[in-house]
Subunit: 181 residues, 2 copies
């Protein structure tokens, strides 16, 4: 598949089949994160794959609330990936402080996108989740207090007939210019 | 090409041929950024493609210094992409503040990776650059004072015989676990 096509079929999937993701596919998703580039090759991520049904249900329930209902589909997903931030290399820490740029956040964006693109190629749907009860999930997954969760991803087979949506994006002229802002 | 193979051939390229990147390829790189996902679909990026030779030389010269020499290859690159951060949607701003998570940085990581993967498929080499004289480059590209540059990418055809390196990464067990940290 051409990369341009892969970009087109990758979309946020918010309805999943009641079907587990096979182990050999899970390994490929992990590999996509593992091979991701990062500032100074720090690889500032730890990927926690939540597959245990009971634990998964508990974690999923911490991604929405009566006030925040947009993640209510998450309990359907047979796989939840949690990306915890790791301290980057010292040179990246110093560089990030000097340049006021939090490189590990850029890096987990890279890693999360590779996860989702690999999933799309394998016929899986994903949704990146930026809203969740971080403290509660850290407790559930025994993530040390000092470690932050950067992002979560729900994954699974999209519901039968789930539509491929047309992407709504800025035009090229709106988001790009040549040689000056 | 399988996505796993694309991930393998994408590498930081720090030596370029003296050969321009064709316009039709540049359009495909822009599209890869344009179609990228982002928190609440905010698309918090403006991509500035620096192709003018004189301006490009000036910008490239602001990515290294006598003290920081690791970007000395940048003036060779026939194309420099500058990703400026844009304010995300209000809901993302509020969410980011509540959750202390700077979503636009994650988003430009996603966009930058898509740029580099698309480039790799097209036979181009890239290198993400996190270290540069932001103020000087903002002046050169007339980027408003309030706008930050998130990342730069150098791009071009890799030098003849440029080797495909084996990726040095943590093992799967080091970077991934199941159901608990």
């Amino acid at each position: 598949m051409k990369f341009a096509e892969l970009l087109t079929i990758r979309q946020s999937v918010r309805q999943y089949q009641d079907k587990l993701v096979e182990d050999e596919l899970i390994v490929q998703l992990i590999e996509a994160v593992r091979l991701s580039p990062s500032a100074s090759n720090s690889q500032p991520w730890k990927l926690i794959m939540v597959t245990d049904p009971d634990l998964r249900a508990e974690v999923a329930n911490k991604t929405f609330s009566p006030l925040v209902s947009f993640n209510k589909f998450v309990p359907q997903a047979p796989l939840l990936a949690v990306i915890a931030l790791q301290k980057p290399k010292l040179i990246t820490q110093i560089g990030g402080r000097l340049k006021e740029r939090e490189f590990p956040l850029i890096d987990i964006g890279i890693a999360a996108e590779n996860f989702c693109l690999q999933a799309a190629e394998l016929g899986l749907g994903t949704c990146m989740l930026g809203w969740f009860d971080e403290e509660a999930i850290k407790t559930l997954l025994r993530i040390p207090q000092s470690i932050r969760i950067g992002l979560m991803i729900s994954a699974g087979y999209a519901a039968e007939g789930y539509p491929l949506r047309q992407k709504i994006r800025k035009t090229r002229d709106e988001m790009c210019s040549f040689n000056r802002y």
